[in-house]
């Protein structure tokens, strides 16, 4: 058993599952957005803004943002443990990644849910 404290799920199984589920959510969201852009004729501000005004779209977007943040945390945590061997630099890099994920998540929520 190798102990870890900076990975998202605190366990390998949990991280593995989070990575798969978040990937599926991101794929669905991407397909939906691309499909919407391709198939909505005369796309204007009102259509776009109307889409994001609906509750289900806000939930879907928030789910996608949370998925991106979790996916990035798990993935980049793995990269740092593979390639950054000095513990001090690794902890600093992981802290920056986790903080950036948090900032982007709150910013995303504000864009979609804010006034």
């Amino acid at each position: 058993m190798v102990t870890n404290i900076t990975n998202l799920g605190r366990s390998g199984v949990s991280d593995w599952l989070i990575q798969r589920v978040s990937a599926v959510v991101m794929a669905l969201y991407t397909l939906f957005i691309v499909g919407f852009l391709l198939f909505s004729s005369d796309l204007d501000y009102a259509t776009w803004s109307g889409l994001f005004a609906q509750t289900w779209m806000r939930i879907f977007s928030l789910l996608a943002f949370v998925s991106i943040a979790a996916h990035a945390w798990v993935g980049l945590w793995t990269v740092t443990t593979d390639y950054i061997k000095p513990a001090g630099i690794r902890i600093a890099a992981q802290s920056i990644i986790i903080l950036a994920n948090f900032v982007f998540l709150v910013w995303g929520i504000q864009v979609v849910w804010g006034a």
């Binding site: 058993m1 190798v2 102990t3 870890n4 990975n7 366990s11 390998g12 199984v13 949990s14 991280d15 593995w16 599952l17 945590w77 793995t78 443990t81 593979d82 390639y83």
Partner: protein, 236 residues
């Protein structure tokens, strides 16, 4: 022209400050020899060459090495399988410390093997004769027990190169699943609880280098997938 160019990784810690490649020429008389035979011919020219070998028939797993970029057992690899452009390049298995020439320190490899507790554990009362298995239960061990621990797989795995102290590696995990799948072993839950961290099993990225090089044709990636399924079933 039956001369073969052999390029060998040489390192003697007592005299060399750094490893270097040394060129040899060997007359194979046009025969499709095994790489190990060529090594013996080189050793006749320079008896300071160090390499491990024992059974010379792919059973003991001593002569694992990197031949023209691919790990394998020198004793069962014919020249026709590896030689490119009349040249044979031999290096030690990558990723582990070199002791001398083609001899590596396999300490970390064995440490990971030891970690998975490679022996049967059973907490129930032993029967008077032996613990029986049905033919179906025995079939589950096929493709697992044949491993000879030559380390060709683990030393071809980038995840093992980066984290040999934390990631068990394909050889250890294949053996781990050999005991997880054994109907006579009752320590399944304890074994799984030692493996559910982000490194031991989950550092496997499924690139299947291990499968590509295994001289016994085994499939550690499939075994790792089965361990992952068991971990998932145990944890959800």
């Amino acid at each position: 022209m039956s001369n073969l160019q052999v390029s060998l990784y040489r390192y003697n810690p007592e005299t060399d400050s750094a490893p270097h490649m040394e060129e040899f020429e060997v007359d194979t008389q046009g025969r499709d020899l095994m790489v190990l035979d060529v090594l013996h011919m080189v050793k006749e020219q320079d008896n300071s060459l160090a390499f491990r070998r024992s059974c010379r028939e792919g059973v003991c797993g001593s002569d694992g090495m990197n031949m023209n970029g691919k790990n394998g057992l020198a004793c069962i690899t014919p020249l026709s399988d590896v030689v490119k452009g009349g040249k044979l390049v031999l290096r030690p298995l990558p990723g582990l410390p070199v002791i001398r020439d083609l001899v590596i320190d396999m300490g970390l490899f064995y440490k990971q093997y030891e970690r998975i507790q490679p022996y049967l554990q059973n907490s129930t009362q032993p029967p008077s004769i032996e613990r029986l298995q049905s033919p179906e239960e025995r079939d589950k061990l096929d493709g697992l027990y044949e491993c000879i621990l030559c380390a060709c797989c683990s030393t071809s795995c980038p995840s093992f190169w980066w984290n040999p102290d934390k990631f068990v590696g394909p050889a250890g995990l294949l053996q781990s699943y050999r005991f997880l799948a054994d109907s006579r072993d009752t320590a399944t839950h304890e074994r799984l609880s030692e493996l559910d961290d982000p490194f031991s099993v989950f550092r496997c990225r499924g690139i299947m280098n291990c499968v590509a090089v295994c001289p016994k044709g085994l499939n550690p990636t499939r075994a790792i997938g089965k361990i992952r399924d068991m971990l998932l079933a145990d944890a959800t």
